[in-house]
Amino acid sequence: MAEKTYKFISQPRRAVEDRRFVAGRGKFVADLDRPGMLHVAPLASHYPAAIINKIDVTAALAMPGVVDVITGAEISAAIQPLINGLDTPNVRRFPLAVGRVRYAGEWVCAVVAESRAIAEDALEKIIVDAAAQPFVLDAEEALLSTSPPVHPEHGSNLLLDKKFVWGAVDDDFALAKHNLSFSVTWGRNSTVPIETFGVVAEWNGWDQILDIWASVQMPKYSDQISRCLGLAGNAVRVHYDIDVGGSYGVKRGIKHATLIGYIARKLGRPVRFIEDRLENMRAGDAHGPERKFDVTMAFEDDGTIRSMKMRALDNAGAYAGRAPFQLGKPIGAIVGPYQINSVSYHALSVTSNKTVQEAVRGFGQAPTNYAIETAMDRVANFLKMDRLVLRQHNLIRADQFPYLIPSGSTYDSGDYHTVIDKVLNAADYSALVATRDRLRTEGMMAGIGVAACLEPSGGNSSFEPLLNEANKTSTWMESCQVNVDALGNVIARIHTTSSGQGHDTLVSTVLGEVLQIDPDKIRVTRPNSLESLPGNSPVGSRMAIMLGGAAARAAEKLKLKIVAIAAHCLGFDADKLVYSGGDVLAPDGSKHSWLDAVELAHRQFHNLPEGMDPGLASFDIMQVPTGDALPVDGKVQMYPCYSFEFHLVLVAFDPVIGRPEIRSYTIGHDCGTVINPAIVSGMTYGGIAHGIGATLFEEFAYDANGQLMTQSFLDYLMPSSHEVPPIEIVKHCTPSPHTVFGQKGSGESGYLGAPAAISGAINDAVAALDIHFEKLPIRMSAISDAISNKLA
């Protein structure tokens, strides 16, 4: 399929949002200053588990400037529990702890004061009489019947226990010559946005409307706030024209917004809460998946993988939330880019006395990719086969698409072998191997890592009905409105916040392409939730596909109307006319210009075709492609599009110091048609940096007493420019047949394969010592300790 050329799409164009950010003119929640605004500070639990006997707020309330102190008992009597993704009605969660605390850092009560400083001072005056309780931190331990349940009313720590068997797993295992089992663990990490979560709420009693400004990336946000607070959906107005300073999944903000919304309504004054870093790291929505995999592979002498058994145990933390679904999404790419005939998958999610897990970039896909790629490395080592050759042998071939995998998803398109070949050429693979071998002769530990991974994109929520039969959701739409004003200028409306994805650029580029007008002349606006069409926000690597798709379809509808007006005026059938650069050209050389259409649509109803409504406006509400059915027999089409990435990494380190240094990093990336190359490259660079963090540094680590040890940037280490090497991106384009321009998602690119590749490189470096690092992050202390133990 030849690549189509576009005028604006795929062209090097500056992101329109960059100008205001570079100039320091972004508008964030913390920039809002509402008259009479109150401030909130939450009191955090010291204990990982305790029963709250009594909270004495008398002294705090007596302080000048303190307006109120809200407890869990008060708020739980006034609002509904936060929405629970699973069918676990006894795992109830409120914004504040009710009767019992379940993790160190959990909010026990909230002081409302004239300033944040006063509120923080008042926290010291609150006396909490709490009795410490037994707690559990480890997921395997949490499964034991002897462990204390985090929610005694629920009866155990088990939130989710689903077994799937796709295909003839037992037969394939019986036939295969070899079996190999291993375990790996993905550590808790986050995306750590620079801006912590913030929210401002204001209740307008005369209009009966609760206004919310929030630093949020959360599907159905206003619906959830309305339900929790017992308000009509049209009584909550979430403002989307607020900049979000980074998210990649974690800015869920639902407990914050219900708490602050409740206080604003109770007190009749605007209320603001901006997390400080400790609040964000301990009890915000910061923590991502923490997952242990037990994997068994069945394969033949020639490297052919027949079947895979995978058990995935996720530590969800103290409440259920949406986190367990992060075990569900990877089902849509459970075999990675490989031909694996059958799979069994056992997904387990447990509560523990750790901070609540929330969504993080990839929604569980990066850990699963890490497990699959580790399996490929282990099988290759077992067979003494080259890791690349083993992968190439098992990869789905370009002529096999569309390709149905055992768990029910059909991959749309791809050319994995070509992408890998391009990377091997670009990085000069044989020279890279020579460098590794030379480094080894010089006394360094050196290793090469490879990872071939998928990024499912175009997010819908098929994992909800798959993991929870009570959930019948198949709709996962996005929408866009386009209006041409009376002067002929184009205004597009999108109905969500953005946290750096460049949605304004996406929509103006797509509209410019379809309408053939300069994207820089298109105004993109973000109304509030009361003035918006339905949508599901930017999650699941979906907006290029879904918002780009809705914008393109709305523009096509507008174009049809412009042509219909021209056909009526010029006296030709519409199919004889050509739309060109906003004008409509007739076969006889006559022209009906853009401004002619504007004039007729806005001012000359008498000249419009009979039955046509005035104005030049259109909208589109688009359902996610392929998202047309509920699961059947444990199988479902998950996401519609599958981007591919291939990582090739050289890592070297001193055997005594053990500090891994990435000497070479090349990634091949195929996300179909790229809308804006700079934005996609930025996503990929950032994703790899995030992946370096997850592999080598970042972890929310707890001590044996249940205290979070990494809650500031002194202890929660992130890669800096010292640790992130120059990265070469090798591009390839296999368009998706399901999308308007052949685009696929790229919002999670880089992160989905980097941990697998880097850990593969470190394991290659220590393979001669028969060391396997089985847990991320692989800290330098772990490396140097393991080597010194072997050499001792």
Binding site: L43, A44, H46, Y47, A104, G105, L123, E124, I127, L278, R282, D703, N705, G706, Q707, L708, M709, T710, Q711, S712, L714, D715
Partner: protein, 149 residues
Amino acid sequence: MNINLNGNELIFVRPNELWNSVIDPVVLQRSIPGCISMVETVPGEYVMTLELKVAAVGGSFEGTVGLSEMDPPNSCVISVSGSGTLGTGTGTARVTISDGESGTANIAYEAAGEVGGLVAGVGQRILLGVAKHLVRQFFTALKKEFVAS
């Protein structure tokens, strides 16, 4: 996180005079760093309020202090338990007083404590140093008690 501290100090005072001071809430209040008040509730048990500042974080603590296994003027066990905005702490210390040389008393201590809450995480690198520093401050103040008289 767990903190263990051991040590001993030489103080220019006779052992039983030192003993009387160590179990005297008035002296203890003057000597314990940041101690705002110390009130005896029942014999050998006190309620204490502390205000401490450690690096960038500071706050007040409420706690109880108990004396047990009293063997005057030789040894006792001091148990401390408290909590505040920064976190929680529990600990016990065995204190042994013996004759030093030339009119001095030797006071030896073996303490084991556990710190929880915010300060356990943010303070992990400095907690042991801070604890040692506070102990040093305590003994410096205690020694002043006898210099003044």
